[in-house]
Homo-oligomer: 399 residues x 2
């Protein structure tokens, strides 16, 4: 496998043979450099992290799950530094190419994983998603991607960022493989099924840029042929409040995670990442309490709405991938916009899939479904069923 | 010359022969990597600065002045990234050793210049001083160091940081060489002379840590034998106000200098330096105006006090050099303390010399004299006269 897209961490490409044959035999996967591989240092996208951490003693749970299911590992993929970023830019190891839009960012932080899968370097890749790090690169590179229910897939052996947000996710090019990998990582059946109803989140579409809305509208129209749909706003108040509170909570947690290491090591960061630590991250307790209360409200609201039958439909990202050579100020504005939509599953801990269903010109535009708590298999099943039976999906499915 | 102290920028050591023979013939000098050398890139202590700037067309003025006076150039010295730092820590190129206190920081940002001179690698080194970048490494490494009157020595070919604060300074080990170099860079006579009176700034000593006060008290006592001294506070109000306003003004200027480059390049910085750009640097105009008014007041006050006869005496730094392996939080606290004293010459644009006159244990402790506007030659002369006639100085003077 040639790393034509600069998706792999520099250095010799890592290989691991499957533990046994299984449902994924014959498939290859890459793993984001946030997952432990026994005997090596998990570099987490930053040279000072790599230099101040020892070798892992064991493989991460998700790595062993795929090796145990017959897949073979090829390559550790580049991540945004210490997982902080949604654009896929890494100033130390290089920004992986977006194979579908080479002058645009690949999305991050699971940038190399999305790049390697979209470019056909491997069949599957593991990523992590705390604030959107699987969903956004899946949308930008045009792949399937799952952010599971929080806690549904073990995060053992994965770098911690913000514990109440951190999840293990994965990417595939086609929906059939997406289903097979889901069955392994979820340790569950992924039967053919569709939800009873899809709620099109009107306010989520309304805040998306016009190219996103124009690209997704025909897909939503086709969805109606497959499933009963209703259109209604997600938020009772201002949708942007969801992101505002997500930022507070996630920041509070990742500061707690990294504070001591930064103080000890004085690590180097790109200015983009350093900006996340611009202040000391100590958030007034009343703001934290307000965000916590708000979060509980969103959980209740979506638990009521997505009651085991309904799924929510929204754009994965409100914006197209920005240019690779964008300015820092554009990067920051883009990240801010993106979180306006990724905060929904983040706050509520609900599962979300990106469906690679549309383009604007040649640039991928992803559509998302958010499922009910624990409804991960149903979500993956919906993705596969829509692709197979309704041709909703960009990639040709294996026959 | 071996770079035993890690003072030089990594790579082949640069050499330039003198333009002609002159008063500095036989002496060697190093130059901080903030000064242009024709044909090379001025790296400014940061790889992303180096990668985004072209080769210099001409030597900096100060470089040509020393080459023209017969000195030979050996080595570009490490600086804190883009001159922002007072401790001498550089996470990209290494932190130069403090030859006099190997487990302590060398001081910065002219870290490599002070290290090379203190270690005997060269006789002279050029540095820059905006917020203390010559004075502090001179104090920490135990060398002579001049920050000239603002505007007195041409900054042509030197990286801009904060234009109303930026100065060209230099280091030597002994006072006689200090005088010879001063005569060249100031293009002036440096006659033997002492001021009529030295004002010991009581409030500046009062905010210094006890080891500093204990180390400097015997020197101040010896000063009384050379010059009439009075003891009085420098500030009419709170001395710490000087530093508070200096921080506002210098920050406003260096943000203006670097803002567009950072936005364009998304450069990598150590967390220490990134902290300087934690916010957008846009300071409320009323704060800027207040700082400007305060600055005018300090200029008036010191113009009245240092009227061409008097010099002000104070500790160069209120603290000892901190440990090389200090935490980021300790580094930040140390820088904050240091500026409490370096702000005085910074705000007023007055010349200041560090005299290597004391130690605490084996750690150098510098004493400073601040002179009147344009009284640079008199200040250098005082340093030399005190060393020669009153043995105030740590290094043995050449006979």
């Amino acid at each position: 496998m040639q790393d034509r897209f600069g998706a792999f961490v520099p250095g010799p490409v890592i290989h691991r043979l499957p533990h046994s044959s299984g449902p994924l035999s014959g498939l290859s996967f890459s793993v984001k450099d946030l997952f432990d591989l026994a005997g090596g240092v998990t570099g987490c996208g930053n040279p000072d992290w790599a230099a101040t951490h020892g070798a892992a003693e064991a493989n991460a749970w998700a790595v062993d799950a795929l090796l145990g299911a017959g897949a073979s590992l090829t390559g550790k993929t580049i991540t945004d530094e210490i997982s902080l970023g949604l654009l896929g830019i890494n100033r130390f190891y290089g920004t992986p190419l977006n194979p579908r839009a080479p002058d645009r960012v690949p999305g991050g932080s699971s940038s190399g994983s999305a790049s390697a899968v979209a470019g056909g370097v491997v069949d599957i890749a593991l990523g992590t998603d705390s604030g959107g790090s699987v969903r956004i690169p899946a949308s930008f590179c045009g792949t399937y991607g799952l952010r599971p229910t929080h806690g549904r897939i073990s995060v053992a052996g994965m770098m911690t960022q913000a514990p109440s947000f951190d999840t293990v996710g994965y990417f595939t090019r086609d929906a059939q493989t997406f289903g097979r990998v889901g069955a392994v990582l979820l340790a569950d059946q992924v039967p053919d099924s569709l939800p009873s109803e899809i709620v099109v989140a009107a306010d989520c579409f309304a805040i998306a840029d016009e190219p996103i809305r124009l690209a997704l509208q025909p897909v939503v129209d086709r969805l109606r042929e497959a499933v009963a749909t209703t259109v209604s706003p997600l938020a009772e108040g201002d949708l942007l409040d969801w992101a505002r509170h997500q930022r507070v909570l996630q920041k509070s947690e990742f500061h707690a995670t990294f504070r001591d290491w930064i103080d000890r090591v004085n690590p180097r960061f790109s200015s983009e990442v350093a900006g996340a630590f611009a202040d000391d991250g100590r958030i007034p307790s009343e703001d934290l309490a307000a965000a916590g209360t708000f979060r509980e409200g969103t959980v209740r609201r979506l638990h009521g709405l997505l009651d085991g039958r309904r799924m929510l439909c929204l754009p994965t990202s409100p914006i197209l991938p920005i240019a690779r050579n964008a300015r820092l100020s554009e990067m920051r504005a883009a990240v801010h916009r993106i979180v306006d939509l990724t905060a929904i599953a983040g706050l509520t801990g609900l599962p979300q899939v990106n469906l690679p269903v549309a383009t604007s010109g040649l640039i991928p535009v992803g559509l998302s479904l958010i499922g009910w708590r624990g409804g991960d298999a149903a979500l993956v099943a919906a993705a596969r069923t829509l692709a197979r039976d309704f041709s909703i999906g960009l990639f040709e499915e294996p026959s």
